[in-house]
């Protein structure tokens, strides 16, 4: 094929023209093989500039295009679109960055010009070795995998299923509902937890769009928005994992509480009648609100902020549920005396203040304290602490409820590995942006909802479930095509020696091993073209489209001489 390369040098207003002798560049490149035209233009990315370039490609009958201008990060796409409009393959184009890499880094016009010549020559040499690449389109899968069957996962599943999406809901326990199952009531309106969850679980069971996997764990997730391959395995059985495809993943794995044994000053596990908030919820729900000896407690202390210093953050919900515990106690044991030990009270929001005021009306002491130490003294539990004025004080009670920090679920680490979503502050799944992308992640198509993302109450959890639903419904529209990466890796069957080095460096799980042929195989739909395998392959079997050996070699021949 006869190549007709057009070289266009952008003045970028004064940005390039004042620092680089553009005419010299044109002189240096216009006689090169295959270059049929080399010209300058004042601002190629402007509307006029784009039209000029489009007309030029057609008028000159160009087959390849080189633009020496700004960083490809600014306008590579712009010029590729022009190629496409002009009828040449957008990959038969190469950009040389003579602004950031030449004009902007020196005051020396000679040096800048010399380098601009070299970079432009390198781009011309490279583009001669480019091949046309064709866009691929695949059907995006609109189905969704929801991991975690607590309120976050349930809410997301129901809402998505209502929009006719097929949902795979995976829960590691034998039943749905999560932590709410344990809550007799929920703050601030003291609605029973079962009221929130029971009907929803029934709805899930009835919904034909939702397939529930209980006692199950996700083993593998490979892919990207619109195309994730998923494997789910029953925890209890040795069965083959279930395999299916989805277009999006919702991480709703919830949270757990800090282990107070790590803070021995609270006497947890060493003393009878010192229990955690979760244990108290269960005890209360079962109707056996009593001491180890079966008697009802007459005095109870609730200690807030257990482990806060260790984890390094306020857990958002403990103050409110600790106040709820006061209500439980007053409801069940009429004359019980409750003392809440706190360091800071956290009761924001339009309804919580009222709840707080009503709760502290009777028989409650709120003690702002530090340096709490809990020991056994006679038949009582003795709490020593420093009050607000740093005076050492002491209080004896029958029962102590510890409100520990909220921490990520123990599966978070494993799932972080499976999904490649990193763990951020406190070990919770990291959102894309704390303010601007609070439920998105660095992987398009994977969302975090509920306390898997950080300590959260029920209403915030539901808000996030609704947000994720909105994201998924708007980004994954049934029938809409998805364009996988074009510049993917390829592993030559005849060169691959089967050492599997590439498998260990692929972050996307795009490479599998063909055991019969003993060679690695790239899944082109999953590959994102990062090039790790190409760099790691010891036998030169892996190559990446648009960054082939020849293309890079030819570019370097000019660039580094």
């Amino acid at each position: 094929m006869e190549r007709k390369i057009g070289v266009y040098i952008c003045e970028c207003g004064p940005n390039i023209s004042e620092k680089i002798d553009i005419d010299k560049v044109i002189d240096a490149v216009s006689k090169l093989d295959d270059v049929s035209v080399a010209k300058r233009y004042k601002l190629l990315c402007s509307e006029e500039g784009k039209k000029y370039l489009l007309d030029e490609i057609k008028k000159q009958g160009l087959t390849h295009l080189v633009v020496s201008a700004c960083s490809p990060r600014d306008h590579e796409k712009t010029f590729m679109e022009i190629c496409e409009k002009a009828g040449i393959n957008p990959y038969l184009f190469q950009m040389a960055n003579i602004r950031e890499h030449c004009a902007w880094i020196t005051e020396n016009k000679d040096e800048a010009t010399k380098k601009a010549i070299r970079m432009t020559k390198a781009a011309i040499r490279r583009v001669r070795y480019h091949s046309s690449l064709k866009k691929k389109e695949i059907e995006g899968n609109p189905d969704v995998l929801v991991i975690g069957g607590g309120i976050a996962g349930i809410e997301a599943s129901l809402q998505l299923a209502d929009s006719d999406r097929k949902i795979y809901l995976v829960e590691k326990e034998s039943s749905l509902g999560g932590l709410i199952n344990n809550f007799e009531k929920t703050y601030p309106n003291m609605v029973p937890g079962s009221d929130i969850i029971k009907q929803r679980i029934e709805d899930i069971k009835k919904n034909e769009n939702i397939k529930v996997y209980t006692d199950s764990e996700v083993e593998e997730i490979i892919g990207f928005l619109g195309n994730f391959e998923v494997k789910v395995k029953k925890v209890t059985e040795e069965n083959e994992p279930a395999e299916f495809n989805v277009g999006a993943v919702v991480l709703a794995t919830g949270s757990s509480v800090f282990d107070p044994e790590k803070t021995p000053q609270y006497g947890y596990k060493k003393l009878d009648n010192v229990i955690t908030s979760l244990e108290f919820e269960e005890m209360n729900k079962s109707g056996k609100l009593s001491l180890a000896n079966g008697e009802k407690p007459k005095t109870v202390a609730i200690v807030h902020c257990v482990g806060r210093e260790k984890v390094g953050y306020c857990s958002d919900i403990c103050c409110m549920y600790s106040l709820k515990f006061v209500r439980y106690l007053h409801d069940k044991i009429p004359n019980v005396k409750v003392s809440n030990f706190y360091s800071d009270l956290c009761i924001p929001g339009k309804t919580h203040q009222k709840f707080y005021e009503q709760t502290i009306e009777k028989n409650v002491d709120l003690i702002r304290s530090t340096d709490i130490n809990i020991e056994k003294k006679a038949n009582k539990i003795s709490i020593t602490y420093n009050d607000e004025n740093k005076n050492k004080k002491n209080l004896s009670v029958d029962m102590v409820i510890l409100s520990p920090a909220v921490i990520p679920n123990s599966d978070t680490k494993k799932l972080a590995g499976i999904t490649s979503i990193s763990q951020g502050d406190g070990g919770f799944f990291a959102e894309e942006h704390e303010k601007l992308g609070p439920i998105s992640t660095t992987t398009e198509g994977i969302y975090i909802v509920g306390s898997a993302q950080g300590p959260k109450d029920i209403s915030s959890t539901i808000i996030q479930a609704e947000a994720a639903t909105g994201k998924i419904l708007t980004s994954l529209i049934p029938g809409k095509k998805i364009e996988p990466e074009i510049k993917v890796s390829h592993i030559s069957e005849s060169l691959c020696i089967g050492c599997k080095t590439c498998l260990s460096v692929c972050s996307y799980g795009a490479i599998t091993f063909d055991e019969t042929k003993k060679v690695s195989v790239v899944n082109e739909v999953i590959c994102r073209g990062c090039g790790n395998c190409v760099a790691a392959c010891p036998s030169g079997a892996a190559s990446i489209k648009h960054f082939t050996f020849d293309q890079l070699y030819q570019e370097l021949v000019e660039a580094v001489q």
Binding site: C496, T501, G540
Partner: protein, 374 residues
């Protein structure tokens, strides 16, 4: 592997060590612990040695567990029969320590399947350079035997003379002759597989290994000193681009070094591929710049490429140097580069099958000394 080796079994020597070791292998076949033995044997013409896979145990008596030369690296022999996966039969492979280490490296690279292979190594006195041996095999045999008796290494391959890992145990069973009482040798187990074999043969591990260990330690320390000095001298001769170009300027581009290298395992060497063949004008352009261009070009680039690709797995076996028709000290240069690159990653090629290859193990803090000074 790499469990503490404090105790070992002791086997009494009948006639000579070689016969007793072969007898030990035969017992393994008698007791159906392994179905075949991969071991060197003299070629019919009598002037060299080759690896053979012995299925008929009566042929074991003609095998040679410690041949005077290494015409084929044992790792290549193991890989040649297990590259496509394990077979049904259990095979005992008798390899020198550097061959065992290369086998371990190849296993990490997926080029062997050791599940049904039992790796048996021994204290190695080194091997003679192949070209010396083939000139007069009879004389070579005599020279090798005398060298062992006198404990001398000056006739061995240059890299054998500076080998500090000649008793390194990284397989399943090791035959230890150093420090053993007269007419005995140690049988050292280094893996569960090894333990299993000893118990099936009803050989108990009751002998203390202190003697062997201290002897091995002495020898490796002494050799390491020698190795460091040799590398220092070598570096002054070949270090720097000009010296390096001079050293390899004799290279005739035969690529023998690559073909015999056990850890150079590519199906098609990059430097034999079309990727290094460029349009004619490219060569002209290069010639124009420097005035002239050697053709074929990039001869030193081949050596440097190989160093970059293989030095982390290089076991300093010396195959490359033996195969070089131009007597370029390839193996000595590689051993020097390998020591330095492996040091960077605290890695010793073939030491432990569980030790991951540095290229595929990511550490956040690594090689900081190589980063640009900001």
């Amino acid at each position: 592997m790499n469990k503490p080796k404090n105790k070992a079994a002791v086997v009494k020597v009948k006639n000579d060590i070689e016969k007793s070791v072969l007898d030990f292998l035969k017992k393994g076949m008698d007791n159906e612990i392994f179905d075949a033995v991969l071991i060197p044997m003299k070629v019919p013409a009598g002037d060299s040695f080759a690896y053979v896979l012995i299925k008929d145990k009566s042929l074991l008596k003609d095998a040679s567990y410690l041949p005077p030369v290494m015409p084929v690296q044992g790792a290549n022999a193991v890989s040649s029969i297990t590259r496509l996966g394990k077979g049904k039969m259990k095979i005992a492979a008798v390899l020198r320590p550097c061959e065992t280490r290369a086998t371990v490296e190849l296993t990490k690279l997926g080029q062997t399947d050791l599940e049904n292979i039992i790796l048996i190594s021994m204290d190695c006195p080194g091997v003679l350079p192949l070209s010396d041996f083939v000139k007069d095999p009879k004389k070579g045999m005599k020279l090798f035997d005398e060298s062992i008796q006198k404990g001398e290494d000056k006739s061995m391959r240059p890299v054998c003379q500076i080998c500090d890992k000649s008793s390194m145990v990284s397989g399943d069973i090791h035959i230890g002759t150093l420090g053993a009482k007269k007419d005995t040798f140690f049988v050292i187990s280094n893996s569960n597989k090894g333990d299993e074999i000893l118990s099936k043969l009803k050989i108990s591990k009751k002998e203390d290994l202190d003697n062997w260990q201290s002897k091995v330690k002495n020898i490796s320390e002494e050799k390491l000193k020698k190795r460091k000095n040799a590398h220092k001298t070598l570096k002054s001769k070949v270090g720097g681009l000009d010296n390096l170009l001079d050293t390899f300027s004799q290279c005739i581009n035969c690529h023998n070094c690559m073909r015999v290298c056990p850890v150079c395992y590519c199906r098609l060497c990059y430097f034999d591929s079309d990727k290094v063949k460029h349009p004619s004008d490219d060569y002209l352009m290069r010639a124009e710049k420097t005035g002239s261009l050697r053709c074929p070009s990039d001869i030193t680039l081949f050596q440097m490429g190989r160093m970059m690709h293989m030095s982390l797995s290089c076991v300093s076996c010396g195959m490359c140097e033996d195969a070089c028709p131009m007597d370029i000290p390839v193996a000595q240069i590689f051993s020097m580069v390998a020591d330095e690159t492996q040091d960077l990653f605290d890695y010793v090629s073939g030491r432990d099958i569980e030790e991951p290859l540095p290229f595929v193990s990511y550490k956040e803090k690594e090689l900081e000394e190589m980063e640009d000074a900001a």
